[in-house]
């Protein structure tokens, strides 16, 4: 069995989706590189007072996004956060979270490979997302720093808008990635180009 541990015979990880960028006037849809992702759950009392764990800001309101250097967090519910960082940091992030929360009841799950992320950027980005997402994506309804679980067509997504610029990040489970990408590409194709 010794040879199985060597890098030559380690499992090769195939990307869940290798789609070329969709580039139309007013929108660009791109599959984002792999990242380390974690789902963090805390009990109600701890969640209410949580500040920062392993460089991730937890003290943001529900449905808000925060970024510290290369690590970002999205509070998806009163006691649930989606955490992300560079792919190579996965092991370090897990160890830092465990160290920071040692002795406290918590749940942390590595979901790095469960999800695929897309960038939907450009003046028409909100319109294209609205082809399948029922949220108000105007700057009033979904301002910079917003993040939430929602739906796109028949698939569940996490939608983030890091800043007020029309650049959205869409995450979905890998088995929905082809569908979500095709849905967005079709919406982009049907969108009247405005330049």
């Amino acid at each position: 069995m010794a040879e199985l541990a060597g890098s030559a015979s380690a499992a090769r990880r195939q990307p869940a989706l290798a789609a070329p960028p969709v580039l139309w006037a007013g929108v660009a849809i791109q599959v984002l590189p792999d990242e380390a992702r974690f789902s963090l759950r805390l009990p109600k009392a701890a969640a209410a007072t949580a500040a920062e764990v392993a460089g991730f800001s937890l003290a943001v309101p529900v449905n808000r996004y925060a970024k510290n250097d290369q690590r970002w967090s999205a509070r998806l519910g009163p006691n649930e956060w989606l955490l992300g960082g560079p792919e190579g940091d996965g092991g370090a992030i897990a160890a830092e979270i465990e160290a920071a929360l040692a002795g406290q009841i918590h749940g942390v799950t590595d979901i790095s490979h469960r999800q695929v992320a897309f960038d939907v950027a450009g003046a028409e980005a909100a319109n294209i997302l609205n082809a399948g997402c029922p949220l108000d994506l105007s700057l009033v309804g979904f301002p910079g720093g917003s993040a939430t679980r929602s739906i796109l067509g028949k698939a569940e997504i996490v939608l983030m808008r890091p800043a007020s610029a029309p650049v959205f990040r869409v995450e979905c489970w890998r088995s929905f990635a082809e569908y979500v990408h095709a849905f967005l590409a079709e919406a982009a194709r049907d969108c009247p180009a405005r330049e």
Partner: protein
Amino acid sequence: MLLIDCPYCGPRPEVEFRCGGEAHIARPAQPADMDDKAWAEFLFIRSNPKGVHAERWIHQHGCQRWFNALRDTYTDAFIETYEMGTKPSRLPDGRTTR
């Protein structure tokens, strides 16, 4: 689209939610002590009013939290939503409002 006021996320489109049936039905503490008729009533018999109804809802494609709602089954208007384990500011007034 109907907007439902999630206690955690605020007003959100109805397609993000699922209904979990009538609220405030306590599970019997000792099911083994109940006869079949009483157990069946607990499992299957609901008030089914025409009017204000207390229901459990989950924000399935959002914060994924369960909460309670008072909804008028005749008009489909949501009167109030409130967290699990809490009571509404008014109680459903029996079987009907009409």
